[in-house]
């Protein structure tokens, strides 16, 4: 039954929209807004991990880049929310374009570790040498201009805006994954050497995907800044990389709906169950082991077969 949902993008979008509306109005809108933004992050991460087959252990760097790009533009230049969002996306994509030149040349272990190392460098730069602009440890408190009903201090507006953003990202990524480009990406994941034999420049495809992923993750970072009205170093903390990896694994890597399911499931656990789970990291570790050893398809991988 669920596998049919994936066949029709309109159905996918409707399912996501309706579930989040029900979820949002039955619990609390600000909380579900966080969920939605995290789902965008997972989709951007999974484009590399699930669809291209490269695990990045440092994608918090691009989340932070987007968040600080948006936040610093609003704080130092001009507090227009849309311009700030655009700057956030551009910073995420631009950073991916620069670092991707090196990062994409590596694969697997070196890819994961290089991303982690660059994340550490980024977190250090934001915390210490750039603290006059980034606010250092305290971060920046942000204010955004409002135009009539476009008012980012209004919770309901933020919820609908982020939901629309998620639907847009889902639509884009579903389109991308089903295009000839996406099929080639999948082939690179399966066997890169053979794709090279066919005459494709696999480096170029991987590089472009890396930039797209950086842009999507940067977008979710910028939305985070916009939603919280502040940005600080926790948005770039290397230790938080495990969250998005866990979410992607739990939902089921390599599927856009899986990323949304995983993002929602992770946020539900960390928001509603964390107060009952005394040893949070231990729980996270055991659950990660379970998904890495026994449930590699993730929740959506099993659910779609129902």
């Amino acid at each position: 039954m669920f596998s049919k949902v994936e066949k029709y993008p309109a159905l996918t979008l409707a399912l996501i929209a309706v579930s989040f509306l029900i979820f949002g109005y039955s619990t609390s809108l600000p909380k579900i807004t966080d969920f939605i933004i995290f789902c965008i992050f997972v989709i951007g991460f999974d484009l590399l991990y699930g669809h291209m087959g490269q695990l990045s252990f440092g994608h918090m760097l691009y989340l932070g880049a987007g968040a600080y790009g948006c936040g610093m533009f609003a704080y130092h230049v001009y507090p227009d929310p849309f311009l700030s969002l655009l700057v956030g996306v551009l910073v995420g994509a631009g950073l991916a374009a620069i670092l991707g030149l090196v990062v994409v040349k590596t694969s697997h272990a070196a890819f994961a570790l290089l991303n982690l190392a660059l994340n550490e460098v980024g977190a250090y730069l934001v915390l210490s040498p750039l603290h006059t602009w980034t606010g250092g440890e305290d971060g920046l408190s942000l204010f955004f201009k409002s135009y009539g009903f476009i008012n980012f201090s209004d919770r309901t507006f933020r919820f609908y805006f982020c939901l629309a953003a998620l639907l847009l990202v889902v639509l884009l990524v579903v389109r991308l994954v089903r295009s000839p480009y996406g099929i080639l990406l999948k082939s690179i994941k399966e066997n890169e050497t053979r794709v090279k034999f066919l005459g494709y420049n696999t480096y170029m495809y991987k590089y472009v995907t890396f930039i797209i992923s950086g842009a999507i993750v940067g977008f979710s970072g910028a939305l985070t800044s916009l939603n919280l009205a502040y940005c600080n170093t926790s948005l770039m903390a290397p230790s938080r990389n495990v969250e998005v990896i866990f979410a992607a694994l739990m939902g089921g890597a390599g599927s856009v709906l899986g990323a949304v399911v995983g993002g929602t499931a992770f946020m539900t656990i960390s928001n509603y169950l964390a107060s009952y789970i005394v040893r949070w990291e231990m729980f996270l570790g055991v659950a990660l082991l379970a998904f890495a050893f026994w449930f590699r398809k993730g929740i959506w991988g099993y659910a779609r077969k129902l």
Binding site: H108, L113, A117
Partner: protein, 283 residues
């Protein structure tokens, strides 16, 4: 000039500790193609074992060091048996995720038993040695000497003993060794335990220079991965050279640029090395 020599000597201490910890990581990487984050846990457990025995029970530092190594061996065996062995021949991403999970579980367990606040361990020698205008804690000299001893010992081990020779051959061509009827994985497991014991020793040596905290494994493991990547995975001499070079980078950055930039500088060097010498993990 004195300052410069001092920083070089401090760099040698950091390099020595990095070498002692990285060697196990490099072997696991080269031999089994597994990125082993759990190595950082064994390092942390080593330091905490030292703390429990030497500070809490009040025993001698040497007894504490022995206890650390003794604790690390069964722990390493358990990790090898139940985590690493399941990951042979699997996608490396699952190895990264599973061993990171072990590190998370272990760090949380340490936090559970010992609390989250940093714990100090005093310098066990507590003596300063003077060479001309130069002053150097004796403990740091011991660290440098120990790391050289470990290097010589491992060189002998891999050249002269049967186990060592099999492992070196296995690093070159695992299938060929297996076709001789040798169970390579069993020998890799022995080396895994030796590497882990060395990681615990690294924790013991580093603890008096810094403080203990449950997340200390996370910090060191990324530095060690940088060493392994710069030195070449499974390359024993390369690991030693990379460890001392990066130790030098670390200490000179701290002395002449900004002390908080030291870690970041090591990662920058690693990135630069990867530009000129792209590498892939063994399949």
């Amino acid at each position: 000039m004195i300052n410069f020599i001092q920083s070089i000597l401090y760099g040698l201490t950091i390099g020595g500790i990095l070498y002692i910890i990285s060697i196990g990581l490099s072997l696991t990487f080269g031999a089994m193609g597994i990125v082993n984050f759990a190595h950082g846990l064994i390092y942390a457990v080593g330091a905490y074992a030292l703390y429990s025995v030497a500070t809490l029970l009040g025993a001698n530092f040497l007894v504490g060091a022995l206890a650390a190594v003794a604790v690390s061996i069964p722990l390493a065996y358990l990790i090898e048996r139940f985590i690493i062995r399941r990951l042979y021949g699997q996608s490396i991403d699952y190895a990264i995720i599973a061993t990171y999970a072990v590190l998370l579980i272990g760090a949380d367990a340490l936090k559970w038993f010992f609390g989250a606040s940093p714990l100090p361990i005093s310098d066990p020698v507590g003596e300063l040695w003077y060479f001309g205008g130069l002053q150097m804690p004796a403990f740091r000299v011991i660290i440098i000497a120990l790391s050289v001893l470990v290097f010589l010992g491992l060189s002998l081990f891999f050249k002269k003993t049967l186990v060592g020779k099999i492992v070196v051959a296995g690093l070159q061509d695992r299938e060929a060794v297996r076709s001789l009827g040798i169970k390579v994985e069993r020998y890799f497991a022995i080396v895994f335990v030796i590497g882990s014991a060395l990681a615990a020793l690294g924790g013991v040596l580093y603890a008096p220079l810094s403080t203990l905290d449950p997340y200390m494994g996370f910090e060191i493991i990324i530095l060690c991965f940088a060493v392994v990547i710069v030195g070449g995975m499974g390359n024993l001499r390369g690991t030693a050279i990379a460890a001392f070079t990066l130790g030098m980078v670390h200490s000179l950055t701290a002395a002449y640029l900004v002390s908080s930039a030291a870690d970041a500088m090591v990662y920058v060097v690693m990135a630069v090395v990867l530009i000129f010498r792209p590498i892939d993990a063994p399949a």
